[in-house]
């Protein structure tokens, strides 16, 4: 299977991105929001919920870090809005064989300190990511990266892998300057240098982080000259700051604030389906939940649409797989959804020996919306005779206890950062991943494992999909998890902001954004 994939100009990709970008804005386009004839502003202020963890792309994998570093660093490949893989630092690539991919690097790329980016830097960066305890999981399907010539890099895979290319679009595989990182690692952390659209200016811990457009960027220079990320932890405060005009964009818009923004002609809401799945993990090793009939009954008790309409103010779509629809390997919309069937659920419970109902615990990490969802689940499960005791704890405690198998039912969410089904299924279902690695249902099924491995070890998306369809059929019957919904990503903006493109994983890149005075 030897095929040469595209030599599309990356600039073209960006143009297409720009063209699609505005479509997501569901905001108010009422009177006075046209920006025609207005002067461009040279500063964009973005409110984010938490402080950056690390400016090193091979360390800071949290969303709070990536929303910043993603603008400083560039990756080998990128994704367009439809999820297609397009060139970025690499202008083309060739699958030499099942486990070897050659990348041709653009020759016009410079880092923010002016030094050129060559195959040395790219190979070094990929190897650094492979060896990083923080982010290796996203790229350790590769054995190593080696330099072929000044502008060619070879990636040697351990085995064929479904996400071999798409994982290289994930910001944790970003390209860093080899000489600088090696000679002065601390200096690099204090002042990160990449080859992305924006250069780093200043980071004041707990307060703000400032970036400036890089003149020598290898694609079109970013539209807004300066960006300030302001850390505002409270959701209500972010909305107020937006209403007040103190910030231009707010990530993590609270769902109950969507209507406030929509009713204000000076504000707009960008919405897009995310790659985040909310689901219930059912501990299959629990004495009660090890009975598949109880798990099936739980799935039959739930009415997801009701939860979406009330708690999420409509910002979500029911799920029929742990894999979100926009992701490689999604089994398809024709796969069955769990549907509410109170009588059927009661019968199952009676068969399982609980004609008079039973008591189960449901755990969730502290978060207003998620706790509200669990309260509704508690209510819905009551209808089939299950009394739910709700346990809420802080995130660290919650994951720790869930990893130890201390809970019966757990509310979890999983962001498909990599953009392929293996990221969900291998982590959440495969028997080797029980506990901390992601499988908090402690589920083990050889047949399911086999389908997961078949889908994982192929580069053919259709083969993967077919395997996930088979897997989904097993999961619908066995119910180790109950997939609830795919969340909607909500970003608030003033109407002065245009061309904002949402990334489904939340790793928004701001190079296309314009803001008017």
């Amino acid at each position: 299977m030897k095929r040469i994939l595209c030599t599309l100009l990356a600039a073209l990709m960006l143009l297409s991105l720009v063209a699609c970008g505005g479509n997501n804005s569901t905001g108010n386009s009422g009177g006075g929001t046209s920006n025609e004839g207005r002067e461009l502003d040279d500063e964009l202020v973005v409110a984010v919920a938490s402080d950056m963890t690390s400016m090193d792309p091979h360390v800071g994998k949290e969303i709070s870090a990536v929303v910043v570093t993603n603008n400083i660093f560039a990756t080998l490949l990128a994704k367009d809005e439809d999820g297609n893989i397009v060139p970025y630092v690499a202008e083309s690539w060739e699958e030499v064989d099942d486990t070897t991919i050659d990348f041709k690097i653009r020759e016009d790329i410079t880092f923010h300190d002016g030094t050129p980016c060559t195959a040395e830097d790219v190979a070094y960066s990929l190897n650094r990511a492979i060896n990083s305890a923080y982010v290796a999981y996203i790229i350790d399907y590769a054995e190593n990266a080696e330099v072929i010539d000044e502008y060619t890099v070879r990636l040697n895979l351990k085995a064929p892998f479904l996400g071999a290319l798409v994982n290289l679009t994930v910001p944790f595989t970003a390209i860093v300057p080899k000489d600088l990182v090696e000679s002065d690692p601390d200096g690099f952390l204090a002042h990160p240098i990449g080859c992305g659209p924006y250069e780093f200016v200043e980071w004041k811990n707990g307060d703000y982080c400032k970036l400036k457009a890089y003149d020598g960027y290898f694609l079109d220079k970013a539209k807004v000259e300066n960006i300030t990320f302001r850390i505002i932890p409270e959701a209500a405060q972010r909305t107020i700051a937006l209403e007040n005009g103190e910030v231009d964009l707010i990530y993590d818009l609270a769902v109950n604030d969507i209507s406030i923004l929509e009713s204000n002609p000076d504000l707009q809401v960008y919405q897009n389906e995310s790659v985040t799945t909310w689901y219930l993990a059912l501990n299959t090793q629990d004495p009660i939940l090890s009975d598949v009939r109880v798990r099936q009954a739980i799935a039959k008790a739930i009415n997801v649409q009701e939860i979406i309409d009330s708690v999420l103010y409509g910002a979500g779509t029911p799920a029929n797989s742990l894999i979100p629809p926009s992701v490689i390997g999604y089994p398809g919309e024709d796969m069955p959804y769990f549907e509410q069937d109170i009588e059927g659920a009661k019968e199952l419970l009676a068969e399982a020996g609980y004609p008079d109902g039973l008591t189960l615990d449901l755990a969730v990490a502290e978060d207003v919306t998620r706790v509200a969802v669990c309260t509704m689940l508690q209510d819905q499960l009551k209808d089939i005779g299950i009394t739910v005791t709700l346990t809420t704890c802080d995130y660290s405690t919650y994951t720790f206890r869930a990893n130890e198998g201390e809970f019966q039912m757990m509310f979890f969410f999983w962001i498909c950062a990599a953009g392929h089904g293996d990221y969900q299924m291998y982590s959440l279902i495969h028997s080797s991943q029980q506990g901390a690695a992601g499988n908090r249902s402690f589920y083990a099924n050889d047949e399911a494992d086999q389908y997961i491995m078949n889908a994982r070890q192929t580069m053919d998306e259709e083969v993967a999909r077919e395997n996930y369809r088979q897997l989904e059929a097993i999961l619908d019957e066995e119910v180790p998890t109950v997939e609830l919904l795919y969340t909607t990503l909500n970003v608030g903006a003033t109407s002065k902001v245009e061309n904002f493109i949402m990334d489904r994983a939340g790793y928004h890149n701001l190079e296309t954004v314009v803001v008017y005075k």
Binding site: S50, D51, M52, T53, S54, V59, K61, A133, Y134, A136, Y137, L189, K204, N205, G206, D207, Y208, R230, I231, I232, P233, E234, A236, Q237, I240, A241, E243, N244, E246, C393, D394, Y395, S396, T397, T399, F400, R401, N403, S427, A436, A437, G438
Partner: protein
């Protein structure tokens, strides 16, 4: 006097040992694994074990604590688990921001609280007295974060006069402007406390014989109030102010969160959430020292106000 100060300074040591021990143990036995918080769910076992060994978290708790104290005594408070920055740098970076609003709040409380207390006491049971005491009750009962949100709604959202959040240090004017709402929100409780304390403490001295004597000497009522009443009523007020200041420095967590103020309170909360033990420890030790110093300062202030206490110190 100096011996007394030295003795008090030395007493900070057992306090610090006690506080650090309790905090360290609670953080360590609390659920949640720092290694997993740092590396994330998907790191390999090996990587986790390696980091655990690097951080010394594989050793017995008491050894970990001992090592920590030993390093701390050498001025090394470690680096943050969460973002690998030096703990003391970070604490020293954040503390002035907290001090800024705490000092502002205590100043506002003194400037408003003491006069309100005096007037209330002098006009006991009048309308002014009742009104200010109801106001004070309101202030004491009002949670700071709620007060903060109300202030933001009125002054930022409706009137558009002041920024809703953040610390703007671009110029002094902007800084002062961004301080106004956090300072008001933070001072509500202490203002009310100080007003009530001033009132009750003034009421105790107001009917003393020496006040009548002072009046009979023919000096003005203002002089009687300030020199004879307030000065004698000052001890409890100073105690209240000292305690309030400590509380303001350590207890501005809610206010700092509501106003996105980059202070030490928010740092502690965020660090606790991410099980960033070195950062929590560094901040707590720092606050503990500050708190102890303020208390010492308050005790010394007594001596300046009350000659009787001064003579007690002399003997020590």
């Amino acid at each position: 006097m100096w011996r007394y100060i030295l003795k008090r300074l030395l007493m900070i040591i057992p306090v610090l040992v006690g506080v650090t021990f309790v905090v360290y143990m609670i953080l360590s036995v609390a659920h949640g694994d720092p290694v997993q918080t740092i590396l994330g769910d998907k790191a390999t076992e090996e990587a986790q074990e390696q980091l655990r060994a690097e951080l010394g978290l594989d050793r017995p708790l008491i050894v970990q604590y001992g090592n920590y104290i030993w390093d701390a005594l050498h001025g090394d408070f470690g680096t943050s688990y969460k973002n690998q920055v030096d703990v003391m740098d970070q604490v020293l970076d954040r503390f002035p921001n907290t001090l800024l609003i705490a000092a502002g709040a205590i100043l506002l409380s003194l400037v408003l609280g003491i006069p309100v207390g005096i007037i209330s006491a002098k006009k006991q049971y009048s309308f002014i007295d009742n009104a200010s005491m109801v106001g004070a009750l309101f202030g004491v009962s009002m949670p700071a974060f709620w007060m903060g949100l109300l202030l933001v709604i009125v002054f930022s959202l409706k009137l558009r006069l002041l920024p809703s959040s953040g610390m703007n240090s671009e110029s002094l004017g902007l800084l002062l402007k961004s301080m106004i709402l956090p300072v008001i929100a933070l001072s509500t409780y202490s203002l009310a406390m100080i007003a009530r304390m001033t009132r009750s403490s003034m009421l105790e001295v107001i009917r003393q014989d020496y006040i009548s004597t002072a009046r009979s000497k023919g000096i003005t009522e203002g002089q009687v109030t300030v020199r004879h009443m307030l000065r004698n009523a000052l001890i409890p007020i100073i105690t209240a102010v000292g305690l309030q200041f400590g509380t303001l420095v350590g207890g501005s967590i809610m206010t700092e969160t509501v106003f996105s103020w980059p202070g030490i309170g928010r740092l502690i909360v965020e660090s606790i959430k991410s099980r960033d033990i070195p950062m929590v420890m560094g901040s707590v030790i720092f606050l503990c020292v500050i708190f102890s110093m303020v208390n010492l300062l308050v005790d010394l202030l007594y001596a300046f106000v009350d000659p009787q206490i001064k003579s007690q110190y002399k003997g020590k």
